[in-house]
């Protein structure tokens, strides 16, 4: 067997005279001792980190040495997301929006990875990556518009809250079915390769979604078809109530990568620099070498799965508090900043006030806005409305003329 530059093995010809296996399917050595391979979960793939839990750099050569401006941006985006989450979660509790999902504890995975990409790289997400969109500049008004499904929503009010999308920011609209984005991301990356665009694709998903058949499909296709893609798994410990020991028995998601012939790494997802470094290098090589990279970012889901979940039913408050207080991406970065004299109590106080104000302004504006006009129920099913659907729209129109008092038309745009 011969290793090519990218580490892939080439086959010997089937009629080679040497006493090595000639099977087309695998080209390892023969062995004459019966021994099963032990899946190594106790000491599995190590977790790459740059900062310790107190925000101190462990190995100075791994410090990305980002500018103060960039680090402050990381911090402000993570905390703004946190503030928006608090307000929108509360607004669901009060019946003002129908549903919400918070990102508590995972802000580092969003911001560290988003910062490592080019703006033209295409993002496929699952539903807990709002920080990626926020880092790219999606305005608070549009986050709110989508959650309120009001007339400013770019998605025209068709989906549940947190199903964001932005063509301008190269963030493909979120859909509820899990892992469906994984093979799609591989296909998009393949197209970008053939179009010679120098763009990468990043595909986010959780450790639960990684159990879906679509995940297997996406990984295998990206490796066999040599796609410039980063698969970014947020392993946050839970899929709703299902802990990881009920989700998989192997060494997490990173250990599956080699099974597909894929470059893989496990990182500390609460260390924004580790996430940044790994994503940056993966991105560079994915595009240069046309091969997929798998990053498993270990983190913890501090919040409930969604507003429909109360996680005290399946985990202890002590466990949650540990992560909130002892190992949080926001506080670790703050320690790094304060140690350099880039941030202190005053800045913290005034930023908290400012970010809350920004979110409240957007919130109040979104609340007052009308919902989109009801005609948009019928558009965009196809590029052009088929005749049958036009007739259905006319039928609804006539119905509303006759029964209008039974419908909340005053809440909707005309």
């Amino acid at each position: 067997a011969v290793c090519s530059l990218s580490g892939r093995l080439s086959q010997q010809t089937f009629d080679s005279p040497s006493d090595k296996p000639q099977f087309p399917g695998a080209s390892a050595e023969f062995v004459d001792q019966l021994e099963f391979i032990q899946p190594n979960v106790i000491s599995g793939i190590p977790v790459y980190r740059v900062m310790d839990r107190k925000g101190q750099i462990i190995n100075p050569s791994e410090d990305p040495k980002l500018s103060k401006e960039t680090v402050l941006k990381f911090y402000q985006k993570m905390t703004l997301l946190n503030t928006m989450d608090r307000i929108l979660y509360e607004s669901q509790r009060q019946g003002r929006i129908s549903f919400y999902m918070t990102n508590y504890g995972e802000e580092g995975t969003h911001v560290g990875s988003a910062a490592a990409l080019e703006p033209s790289d295409l993002v496929f997400g699952q539903y807990r990556e709002a920080g990626v969109l926020m880092y790219r500049g999606f305005p608070l008004d549009l986050f709110m518009a989508q959650c309120y499904a009001n007339a400013d929503d770019l998605g025209k009010g068709r989906q549940m809250p947190v199903h964001y999308g932005s063509k301008e920011l190269n963030f493909v609209t979120i859909s509820s079915p899990l892992a469906t984005q994984i093979p799609q991301a591989a296909g998009a990356a393949y197209a970008m390769k053939t179009l010679n665009s120098n763009r990468a694709v990043i595909c986010y998903f959780g450790e639960g979604a990684a159990s879906e058949g679509d995940a297997h499909a996406g990984f295998n296709f990206s490796a066999t078809l040599e796609c410039p893609i980063i698969f970014f798994c947020r392993n946050n410990g839970y899929a709703i109530s299902t802990p990881t020991n009920e989700q998989y028995r192997g060494d997490g998601i990173a250990a599956r990568g080699p099974g597909y012939g894929m470059m893989s790494i496990r990182v500390d997802g609460n260390d924004v620099f580790a996430v940044y470094n790994a994503t940056r290098e993966a991105r560079r090589r994915a595009v240069a070498e046309n091969q997929p990279f798998l990053i498993e970012a270990m983190t913890y889901r501090i919040g409930h799965h969604s507003t429909s979940d109360d996680s005290s039913a399946y985990r202890s408050v002590d466990e949650v508090n540990y992560w909130d207080k002892q190992d949080h991406p926001i506080s670790r970065l703050r320690h790094y900043m304060t140690a350099r004299g880039w941030w202190a109590e005053d800045e913290e106080r005034s930023w908290r006030k400012q970010s809350r104000q920004l979110v409240m302004e957007a919130f109040e504006k979104a609340e007052r806005r009308l919902k989109p006009r009801p005609e948009w129920l019928f558009t965009d099913v196809y590029d052009e409305n088929p005749t049958g659907l036009q007739k259905q729209q006319e039928a609804l129109q006539r119905h509303l003329e006759q029964y209008k008092e039974h419908y909340p038309l005053d809440l909707y745009d005309k």
Partner: protein
Amino acid sequence: MAAAARLVLRTASGAKVLRAGLGWLGAPIRVPHAAAHFTFHPDPVPTRHGPTQKMNLFQSITSALDNTLSSDPTAVIFGEDVAFGGVFRCTVGLRDKYGKDRVFNTPLCEQGIVGFGIGVAVAGATAIAEIQFADYIFPAFDQIVNEAAKYRYRSGNMFDCGNLTIRAPWGCVGHGSLYHSQSPEAFFAHCPGIKVVIPRSPVQAKGLLLSCIADKNPCIFFEPKILYRAAVEQVPTEPYLIPLSQAEVLQEGSDVTLVAWGTQVHVMKEVAAMAQEKLGVSCEVIDLQTILPWDTETVCKSVVKTGRLLISHEAPVTGGFAAEISSTVQEECFLNLEAPIARVCGYDTPFPHIFEPFYIPDKWKCFDAVKRMINY
């Protein structure tokens, strides 16, 4: 094996047995699946689309794909075994001509093929995905129904996968049994956002496939596999489009409307001839072509004229697409109907192997249904 060869065999007990005739297997016996249940009638040679060439159905598909790869530099074709030419030879020669980056095999995974295809389309390239048999499209059902069909709607038209076309061999083939004979169009007819198209012939196939590829919505194109070799026509070598969602009246008639698609259209043509000859009944034959969105206007206009409708498909009758047509026609044409609408379809069973001659909605069953409608 020489026709006159003789072979001496020894049985277990040592006795000699002489076999004469066509090799050691002996003279052939009758098999139930020997003869086809239809005759393919080629359409008149098209004159509007330039020079033509004799092609069977799979060659007309290759021609459409060749035209596409030639004119659209972003187009890619992928699926299981497409690289060497495909199990039905639809992609023969294309990899050599256009390169391995544009015509390539994928791993054996239908949900991956369609998911990958959606992604290619979303990124702006033209994706032509092949599913090896329509019977195997179901792992991709989630990607088709929950993703492809809803991409444009759910994103407020920011994203779409209109550049995606999925092709799959479809329908009975004489011996295909449960998993090589299915016609799953009814499952997809229930899914707003995609288009479903089924051609009856090589000329139709090339024009309709090119329309699907050009269409800005994800399309499923089912190819009647029994026609891949059996259907031969003069097909234009240049690209041409046949519009989607427009049913075609193949012959006009005054007494009964016959609606079908794919292979069954040829059965209907024979039924029309039998009805004329044996019953003096004049049938109007319609090829629906596009199942979704379907051309209600052409069908209803015909039934208003004839007052009688027979719809026929191989797929099981319950929940089959004939039910949708029947329901719409009785809403729109209730007072014009002279008899209940007839559906002559497959039975509510899986598609059987040895019982295929009894299962399929053949011309005798359709003829009998016409007779009953006339005498209602």
